[in-house]
Symmetry: C2
Subunit: 371 residues, 2 copies
């Protein structure tokens, strides 16, 4: 039985089309993961995600661990049942959130000590615990606990974080192998900052541990974009060809296209939902099948701009999402101006649909030899 | 062709079942109007309103007149097209909002002068203008512009307001008759405070003007509930039996039941949506068909209460709304605690469904001779 199957490889680039088998169904790659931080994609129901053909979502272990707590979720069965999402779920390990949100964070060789930003309660998160929590959540893809360094960082700091990331990755793998539960995939995370030798080292060591997939972490945290893409391009040479590759937390539509060309299969990003909440809408500038020809295949429409007050056209005439099929720019402008919560919802539906459509068009372009 | 047809009258009370014909379809009475103040029922799409079988909605002339303005709505066609709601719409005249929201409000014999609470711009709203605005909105039911007095009020104040309400009602009726547009119904509003003689006088004068329906305004503004219901009970004796009767801005479920018994056909209230936003859910305590036997046929469940943290039961096992069919109390509790906007949406869906179901059960009870 395959876990990840490559269905097509581009003739023009390292882009590939694949199928990732999970306990809750097959996901066609390259794919985008809408973010459901608190066990809900902000403003949306699971039903709406299905209508826009979201295949898989990402949820945040750190947030759910603190609130409502794993015991509450287990009372419902698992995270799928708790939030009533029947498709696959990827959970991060909590490492990134401990790094960016928690108070009094202190990294020790065995794990990370931190205080909850909600109530100040103290926790010690170990690699083993990160796996146990994700097992309790019942996600389809678990992430190993990694160590991040804040940008800017020295080589020495990046090296230390990479070394600890590798040590913890091994512990996570061992913990996964102990379980007799339904098969949950486990991905290792490549760290190493902007240093190619550290990235190379990390990739090779993780590959040796034989994870189900490999993520690239610690990028788009402040370093120049060109440096990030140099790392991605370099790194995909050292990640197993027959395993899925996940670029964490990125990015803009043109960056996703670029990373796909470098051989990345999985993406998540707050951009579509966050932009939506601010009234910034992704609009196709060209029929998406042509986007490989133009760098600027989309534009961002600021719907709160006065010029849209009586613009009765749909948000995007090329988009078939619920918002575009039912409402005008004029109406959405009005909803934003009057702070009606429906505004956020329609904008989120549209922007996520844009990202999911983008992935469909990317697949089409790979198949047709355009990308 | 009938405009309002009585289909059944209770043997036990003055409750009746009717059909109200509007330009956008027939509405079965007694009915409840969800409130779409800014051309949107807060948090919900028109599609969701249809799923929960909302027959007709109420929108607020005052708000839409100020923002986005009538010209913007006319650019889309009318209010139906602007907000993409294909069912009937009732619009209020703006009188109540001028009274409660506008700044520097001054009532003159010809109309009311006020400043917009948004930008301080000055307006003079006349009865004629109130009709013209509602004609431009294209609502199915227009309301005459009335004059309100704040509670507590003296007899003299109530009398003055009633006199002006009658004068303005006449102007509204004349303005309506001038129009060659698609038939829009026009309702007169009975004022008179808690004084039976004023109410009686107002009802008889309005009846003489032959409106398409009659509303009871100026109640539940602070006066004792018993006084309000004494007025309602008294007043329905003096309103034409063959025209719909609308109790504006009320009320609690048991109050709706009571008013139906007194012969009221139409209701609107912020309670289900506002309670929903605060996490207060209407829960059936008894199979609704039995509610006529018990005064307390429902309870209010405060979902943010800690005891619901791991309560995996549906919000209300007797309810078939989208929220109850798909999510647990535990999940909704979590959404409220983490301030996820989906919480407000699910609670609004549930509470509005409760109110709409209540109206269905009321009709059933009238038909079966229980109410």
């Amino acid at each position: 039985m395959y876990m990840f199957k490559i269905k097509a490889i581009s003739k023009k680039s390292k882009a590939r089309i694949g199928q990732l088998k999970t306990s809750h169904g097959i996901v066609e790659s390259p794919f985008f993961l809408p973010i459901a931080t608190q066990a809900a994609v902000r403003n949306l129901t699971p039903e709406e995600l299905k209508i826009m053909r979201a295949q898989i979502i990402l949820s945040n272990t750190y947030h759910l661990f603190l609130r409502p707590g794993i015991k509450v979720i287990e009372k419902s069965g698992d995270l799928h049942k708790f939030m009533n999402w029947t498709g696959p779920i990827l959970t991060d390990s909590g490492g990134y959130q401990v790094f960016s949100l928690a108070k009094a964070r202190k990294i020790k060789p065995g794990g990370v000590k931190f205080k909850s930003e909600i109530d100040g309660k103290e926790f010690f998160l170990t690699p083993q615990k990160a796996i146990k929590i994700q097992q309790a959540l019942g996600s389809d893809i678990m992430m190993a606990l990694d160590v991040l360094v804040g940008y800017p960082y020295t080589y020495k700091e990046a090296e230390g974080a990479t070394r600890l990331t590798l040590r913890w990755a091994k512990k996570c793998k061992e913990e996964q192998l102990k379980s007799k539960r339904v098969k949950q995939l486990l991905f290792g995370i490549v760290q190493g900052g902007v240093y190619k030798d550290l990235r190379h080292w990390c990739a090779e060591e993780l590959t040796r541990m034989d994870f189900d997939g490999y993520a690239i972490g610690g990028l788009t945290v402040g370093e120049p974009v060109q440096k990030a893409f140099a790392i991605i391009r370099f790194l995909t040479n050292y990640l197993p060809i027959n395993k899925p590759r996940y670029l964490m937390g990125a990015g803009k539509p043109e960056q996703i296209v670029r990373a796909v060309k470098y051989g990345i299969d999985m993406f998540d990003c707050v951009l579509p939902t966050r932009h939506g909440r601010h009234g910034d809408l992704f609009i196709w500038k060209t029929r998406p099948a042509d986007f490989f020809k133009k760098r600027k295949f989309y534009e961002i429409l600021h719907i709160t701009n006065a010029k849209f007050k009586d613009d009765v056209r749909p948000l995007d005439s090329r988009c078939s999402c619920y918002a575009c099929q039912n409402f005008s720019r004029s109406y959405l402008h009005h909803l934003f101006r009057t702070h009606e919560p429906l505004a956020l919802r329609l904008a989120t539906i549209h922007n996520l649909s844009f990202y999911l459509d983008l992935m469909k068009e990317i697949k089409k372009a790979i198949k047709n030899g355009y990308l």
